[in-house]
Amino acid sequence: MRRILLAVGVAALMAGCGSAVKLDSVPVEDKSGTPISQSGAEGQNAGGAAAKSGVTGVDLGKAGQDAINAAGPRIVYFDYDSYVIKPEYQSIIEAHSRVIKGDKNRKVAIEGHTDERGGREYNLALGQKRAEAVRKAMGLLGVPDSQVEAVSFGKEKPAASGSDEAAMAKNRRAEISYR
């Protein structure tokens, strides 16, 4: 989304740079486009009078996003050295399992992560265990294995920096990532 906006912005800038025409002598037309909405989702800029310099963002990732957003948080946190899904995260897994089962074409990656302690490869294997724990829990709820891939980032992609327990607790996690 942000990248697309950026690309549009850069293209506009470059177009501006390319000509030697004085900008204030050029009549500005109102060409603000109609938002393209997929799956009936309303674009944010749809209503109201658009400013003349307005840019309408097109979000190709919007399809079905509402259902995913409605399913709520996507992160399951784990205790140190543990791969057990704590009861308070069962509802997250259930909500996303419903979304995934509701669309046979939907592909999801469960991305396992660890805190910074220990070796990179061993942590990759630990993160894999966490990801597979979530995948198995979804499997028990009827989500087909073919729609879910369990992968690991080990300790390479911490959510929080710092070496205190609060940061490390945020990093021991599995993220449900819609692809």
Binding site: A125, Q128, E149
Partner: protein
Amino acid sequence: MNSSLFFSLARYFNRGLVGFLLASSLSAWAQFRVEVSGVGLTQLPIAVANFRGDDSAPQKMAAIIRADLERSGQFRSIDTGSSVIDEVARPEVSVWRQKGADSLVTGSVTRLADGRYDVRFRLWDVVRAQGQDLGGQSFPVAAGDLRLAAHRISDIIYEKLTGEKGIFSTRIAYVTKASQRYNLWVADSDGENAQTALTSPEPIISPAWSPNGTQLAYVSFESRKPVVYAHDVASGKRRLIANFRGSNSAPVWSPDGRTLAVTLSRDGGSQLYTIDANGGEPRRLIQSSGIDTEPVYSPDGRNIFFVSDRGGAPQIYRTSATGGNVERVTFTGGYNISPAISPDGRWLAYISRVNGAFKLHVMELATGTTTAITDTTADESPSFAPNGRLVVYATQQQGKEALMTSTLDGKIKARLGGQSGDIREPDWGPFQKP
């Protein structure tokens, strides 16, 4: 030891400062900082006089050779002051003997008409009354290969005086992370002359040299999951080795270069497989209900050491290269990972957690005798030099990641510094063909 090294380096930086700063580029921050933090017992005292032409050449031959020899732990550098002696001169051996030197290195670096440089050296035994000429050599090289010529000279001196092959002209691969960019580097064994093999916005881990030193296998997360590639260093051509469902990681080459061992999760759990280096279907090596990862071949290719939590906590095990005969290797401590085997098969380097600290250990495999060889607390990824005399590893110093080399007894250490980014995942390459 400490002071003589300090002075020789200080001299190097004084003389080399301008060129050093002018040459500073993307790779400049990845230069070596030699910090000797221990005292060796039997070191050969050697004087390396400044080469004739060193002051006008792009690289200072004598300084490179001195730093090489000191880092090896086998040599003690004798201060040569501002002496300039070329390979043609007959040195006054008594002067050098009085300074405590057993050997003297002399030489020259001369710019040739075609723009290349002719680097020459001669090694003297100054213990003999008249001094004995131990031989010399000439290297006509491009300016860009001056450092390599100096490392080759260090290799010749090292082999002549210790009877073992030197590792100074070998290469080390490592990974840096700076402002969310990951770089895979190939550097000389002293960390200088670093060149980027791969730049990525996503993590790169576990680089592993092929036995002939032409390719690196590694794990890249560029497709939002761990995937194993093999990368031809000279051409930059990459090919997929393992991109199966789930995670693909921990690549290592068999000693004959025909096979890679990897960790795959495609059948559930992190498990060991072997794959033909030319691609193809992976073969399951062994099976466990837990984690099996970090495979590494024994130098004879018959065994694979690996890490497994089959006993409840990560320990190092050994299996035959075709699977089967699994035996446990580490018994002390509750967290032992990242095995590396010395080229002669005698030593196992690995990381052990001791009271919450991750420390590099060396085990003599025949006896099981184990020694912790660092005083740091976040050691990772040990890798042996091809002559088995040094280990390179990643660690943290003052909260910053650093690469270190150490002798196997832990007495002589040198640091490969990274100023503006984290530096990790070293892998020491094989001997290069001259």
